[in-house]
């Protein structure tokens, strides 16, 4: 029996397959445990991606030039360009 690749199952899950491809894949998934398990791992990957997206949004803090200048002065460091993004 020919199994689907992870990428093909990902396309199936996200609706990027042709109608015929989708129906064939759906039928295959009804009796193929291996591909069903693989599809579940793709769902886990999508949750992981969602966590990553939220983390990136949360940590996207704009730099603060004044704050950096103060710190350069505290650490007596004139090697840091104040236009460097923080």
């Amino acid at each position: 029996m020919k199994h689907y690749t992870q990428e093909q199952l990902d396309q199936y899950k996200h609706g990027d397959m042709s109608i015929i491809g989708k129906l064939t894949c759906k039928m295959h998934l009804c009796f193929c445990q291996k591909c069903s398990d693989q599809l579940r791992t793709i769902s886990e990957d999508d949750s992981f991606m969602s966590e990553l997206k939220n983390a990136v949004k949360t940590f996207d803090v704009p730099p603060d030039e004044k704050e950096l200048k103060t710190l350069c002065s505290i650490f007596k460091d004139d090697t840091i360009g104040h236009s460097t993004s923080a």
Partner: protein, 189 residues
């Protein structure tokens, strides 16, 4: 050994390499600011918290080396931020600090501990993404970034990068695999 790239700052800290105050600031500033919010610090107080944490960690030097005998860096950093945040609250003028306020922030506060776990995990994820950028092909990273972070559809990404839709999914799969490996290597995860 001097540490100069952001590629693996967490690893450098763990390995006992020299870390510059600026690298530390760039990497941990968002985390410290977030932690300041957990302690309900004002914007000015959060800036002070950043300074105080940096000074505590580096002891005023331009570079510092983490002493492994202090245990896990994650726990060490949590403790430093927590203590400096409480110090800042204590310093508030006009007797604005009642003992009740300070009682909200003991060293072991389950709500604050839980928040820290989540914040640290998010921090590691964001750092892993930076490392990923250096580990995969630029087109793989770009496809992944557009598809996952910019929320473009696979077809939009494929059209934009002039590649097949299949390749967007291949890029996603490769990037996730690499990210999981990077996460395993980063200290504290």
């Amino acid at each position: 050994m001097a540490y100069t790239t952001k590629k693996s700052l967490l690893q450098a800290i763990k390995d006992g390499c020299d870390v510059s105050w600026f690298e530390f600031y760039e990497t941990y500033r968002p985390l410290i600011l977030m932690r300041g919010s957990d302690y309900n610090l004002s914007e000015a107080e959060k800036k002070e918290l950043i300074q105080e944490v940096l000074l505590s960690v580096s002891k005023g030097n331009k570079t510092f080396t983490y002493d492994q005998s202090k245990g896990r860096f994650r726990s060490y950093l949590r403790k430093i931020i927590s203590r400096r945040a409480v110090d800042i609250i204590r310093k508030r003028k006009d007797n604005a600090v009642s003992p009740e306020i300070l009682e909200q922030y003991p060293e072991n506060n389950p709500a604050l501990d839980k928040a820290w776990q989540q914040e640290w995990h998010a921090h590691v994820l964001s750092q892993a993404l930076q490392v990923l950028r250096t580990k995969v092909e630029p087109q793989t990273f770009q496809a992944f970034e557009l598809y996952v972070l910019e929320e473009m559809s696979a077809k939009e990404v494929a059209d934009f990068l002039k590649i097949k839709v299949d390749m967007v999914y291949v890029a996603k799969s490769r990037a996730i695999k690499s990210l999981r490996e990077i996460m395993k290597e980063l200290p504290g995860e």
